[in-house]
Amino acid sequence: MSVMPLLVICSILVAGGFLLAFLFATKRGQYDDLGTPAVRMLFDDVHKKTEIK
């Protein structure tokens, strides 16, 4: 059971890494506009199609 404290601390550190990533992303504006990226991701496909023509 002595491995438990180590495991708990490791798991919290890993989770803390994800939390930091989330905070960083929020500060950089990743969550400011949730609508336009959904539209933007469609572009590449159509682009290629028109080039083949």
Binding site: L23, D32, G35
Partner: protein, 791 residues
């Protein structure tokens, strides 16, 4: 036949070639630009999705004002050395093609580094090298692509945008930290609950204690701070709002848990604490999201243009409207808004005052007439001398009077009253419970804090914001924008609906009715050809009514009176009855009404302008009556439409020719007689009556028009949904109160456990999230379920 660019139906093939047809030269020029740049894949995303360029051609000189550094600065996000970033609002943006094209701006101007679109807010952020290009050239590029930037004197609501963005980000940050802590503390706590009192060795218990305290500290001081600061602020104002018992509950949970853990008295309630804050923040996020979705609440400044043409010592220049001084000569063209109160210098002019007075037919003004700011010039350009600076216009003062009224919100009042009641009740129960256990101080303190913890009105604070916030979001999808969530509760209380006719019950598009000898196809074509040459709004309406066709020659326009011309071999005279009686030499004609038309010297008949009742109005008013609401009509219009509306309203329910102040008086009179008034108007002209009413709805044909003082904006096409909307507000209240009763029952159970001294951390850890989840679920599902009628 549809326009290749904008997809609107075209009447003929005169513009374009075999494969490409355009409805107007504007659309063709945008298409040409795209073709030259090899960017026709624009049409590949959403078909012919361009912005229609019909209407008067825009004059590039309006963008000259952007060369003025102070004016341009309103749009600038930041400048760092040679790089500048600006944000512009483009109302025309609407689809995936728009996003694609507007993010390719660097292909049109080497100076542009990048551009980024926000489709929801209809803004584009352009980053450019300020030594190679400027805001003015960017505005011209956008305009040539058919996306005219919104250049109002308020800038792009820039500061408010930034403020909102920051607020939303902050909620996400708080939510992230609270969620992280809640998850991890719960993981630790579950292990302890399962292991029981003696199932875990001492090192592990100490580690878990340290970890859960460490995780909870940022939750209390950062994530929960909105409630703590709001509670402190409200107590300073000597008001007890609903945030007070919440803050009390949170603080008790946090402090008691820490004491329990440090003194070794137990495992504490930190898992419940972090979970509670997490749920509270979810409620906040709902509220903020709903608030974000609405941005119609603008000021009078956003209605005025950024600039106006000023004639100074014989030369014409475009200047910011704030620089207009008394005595300056302005030139205002067709479709432009007059920025300052002024006197007409041109011989005649037509001004559409529908925003200010509500009268929907343009007014004919002659030289020397006083013209008020806010009117829109129709037809030929006019020259005006300003009599007052922009900020002192009649319209601006009207606005200020309305804006200075304190916002009324029964939602806030409800929260305040409830907060006091709730806090007092909880305190009484807690004290009585503690007193009961008294000689045993330890148990008494436990019971006291347990009551404060379990009675924390977390679910209460969630029910209303989440239900109303969800409803706001759903309604926004159908074009109905609500100023704040409290409006829905105000709407529920309304028992009298007052309509303003102009634009609300009748369509603003005028119908011309012809009365006289029927015209042959050939004659109609001739009339159209002559009428279309005159800029007079009535002539334009007549021209739209007739068959489009041939060309006319030998035109004589007697501005403001009539027009004469030859077409298809016919001599056509169209004009006021006085004008025709003069030309035909028949004084009898002068007695009639409307616009007369004569062909080859013979009076054929008259055109009468008529607006018509929106077709769903009678049914809508009937439905209102069915839900025992009173309907009234108070309008500034003349009673010429009384006959048209008499099927809808009884005679004593209608009031015509009401001036803005009479409208206010009528509304106040109803309120004094105990009515709760919902005013339905069409925006600016009703501004004071709307402010006088308990709650107001602005009905518009385009949501971009400005609607001050109104609590809700809805598109005209949705007017038939008004009774449904009012019923919906009742259902929302039902959802909220059901959730409240439910949590009350829940609290009674919880408080009983607390009083019995058996509210253990495990029970709390189960009870609190379950009740929060149930309330969130009930609120969201309820608000959505009842909203299905709008689909």
């Amino acid at each position: 036949m549809r326009c290749t660019h904008c997809g609107e139906p075209c009447s003929d093939r005169s513009i374009g070639n075999e494969t490409e047809i355009f409805c107007c030269t504007g659309c063709k020029s945008v298409y040409d630009i795209l073709q030259q740049s090899g960017m026709c894949e624009y049409y590949a995303f959403d078909g012919a999705s361009g912005v229609s360029q019909r209407g008067p051609a825009r004059d590039r000189s309006v963008y000259d004002v952007l060369d003025d550094a102070a004016t341009a600065a309103r749009f600038v996000d930041y400048t760092s050395g040679p790089i500048t970033r600006v944000r512009l609002t483009l109302p025309g943006m609407h689809c995936a093609s728009c996003v694609w094209l507007l993010e390719q701006l660097h292909r049109f101007d080497q100076g542009i580094r990048s551009s980024r679109v926000d489709l929801m807010r209809k803004t584009v952020e352009v980053e450019f090298v300020n030594t190679r290009t400027g805001l003015k050239s960017i505005a011209i590029i956008l305009s040539s692509l058919g996306y005219e930037p919104l250049l109002t004197s308020e800038g792009t609501e820039h500061d408010r945008d930034v403020e909102r963005r920051e607020a939303t980000r902050k909620i996400y940050l708080r939510l992230g930290i609270a969620g992280f802590a809640a998850g991890n503390v719960m993981m630790i706590s579950i292990a302890r609950y399962v292991a029981g009192e003696d199932g875990m060795d001492y090192t592990l218990v100490s580690l878990f204690s340290v970890l859960s305290i460490a995780l909870s500290i940022p939750v209390y001081f950062f994530s929960a701070s909105p409630w703590l600061t709001s509670a402190v602020a409200s107590l300073r104002r000597r008001v007890v709002n609903l945030d007070v018992p919440v803050a009390l509950g949170i603080t008790t949970l946090f402090v008691r848990s820490i004491i329990d853990i440090v003194s070794g008295g137990g495992e504490g309630f930190l898992d419940s604490f972090a979970g509670l804050v997490f749920f509270l923040l979810i409620g906040r996020l709902f509220q903020q999201k709903a608030f974000d979705a609405v941005s119609f609440d603008r000021t009078v400044r956003s209605f005025f243009p950024l600039s106006v043409r000023r004639e100074h010592k014989g030369s014409e220049s475009v200047v910011p409207i704030d620089t207009i001084r008394t005595g300056d000569l302005m030139i205002v063209r067709n479709g432009e808004v007059i920025p300052a109160d002024s006197v007409l210098m041109s011989a005649t002019g037509y001004v559409d005052y529908s925003f200010v007075t509500g009268e929907s037919v343009p007014v004919e003004c002659t030289s020397g007439t006083m013209i008020y700011a806010g009117g829109k010039v129709v037809g030929t350009a006019v020259r005006l001398t300003a009599t007052r600076p922009v900020s002192q216009s009649y319209l601006a003062s009207l606005w200020e009077r309305t804006a200075s009224r304190t916002p009324r919100s029964s939602y806030m009042k409800l929260s305040d009253r409830f907060g006091l009641w709730f806090t007092a009740g909880t305190m009484v129960v807690a004290f009585v419970g503690a007193a009961f256990w008294l000689p045993n101080v330890a148990v008494a303190v436990n019971v006291f804090t347990a009551v404060l913890i379990i009675a924390c009105p977390c679910a209460l604070t969630l029910a209303a914001p989440i239900t109303l916030g969800t409803a706001m979001g759903v309604l926004g999808r159908f074009g109905m924008y609500i100023k704040n969530i409290g409006v829905l509760l105000e709407l529920k209380n309304a028992n009298t609906v007052v309509f303003d006719k102009t634009g609300t019950l009748t369509s603003t598009y005028h119908d011309v009715v012809y009365d006289g000898t029927p015209l042959t196809q050939e004659e109609q074509e001739a009339v159209e050809a002559v009428a279309s040459h005159s800029a007079h709004p009535v002539s334009q309406s007549i021209a739209r009514k007739m068959q489009p066709s041939s060309t006319a020659d030998v035109m004589v326009e007697d501005v403001g009176r009539g027009v004469r011309g030859r077409s298809n071999g016919h001599e056509i005279v169209i004009g006021s009855t006085a004008y025709l009686s003069e030309i035909l030499g028949d004084s009898a004609i002068a007695n009639g009404v409307g616009t007369a038309v004569a062909i080859d010297g013979v009076l054929m008949g008259r055109f009468v302008m008529r607006s018509h009742v929106r077709k769903d109005v009678p049914g809508m008013v009937k439905a209102l009556r069915a839900s025992s609401l009173r309907a009234r009509l108070v309008t500034g219009d003349t009673d010429r439409d009384e006959i048209m509306l008499q099927d809808v309203f009884a005679k004593d329910e209608m009031q015509f020719r009401a001036s803005p102040s009479e409208k206010v008086a009528a509304v106040e009179n109803m309120r004094n007689n105990g009515a709760t008034v919902l005013m339905v108007g069409d925006g600016l002209n009703d501004v004071s009556a709307m402010a006088a009413a308990d709650v107001s709805i602005a009905v518009t044909d385009e949501t971009s028009t400005l609607a001050p003082a109104s609590d809700l904006v809805m598109p005209a096409a949705r007017l038939a949904d008004l009774p449904g909307l009012l019923r919906y507000t009742h259902e929302l209240t039902w959802v909220i109160s059901t959730a409240l009763w439910f949590t009350m029952a829940y609290n009674v159970v919880g408080v009983s456990l607390a009083l019995a001294g058996i509210l253990t951390p495990v029970i709390t850890a189960i009870m609190m999230p379950v009740s929060s989840l149930l309330v969130v679920g009930m609120s969201v599902v309820g608000a959505r379920l009842f909203a299905r009628r709008f689909a």
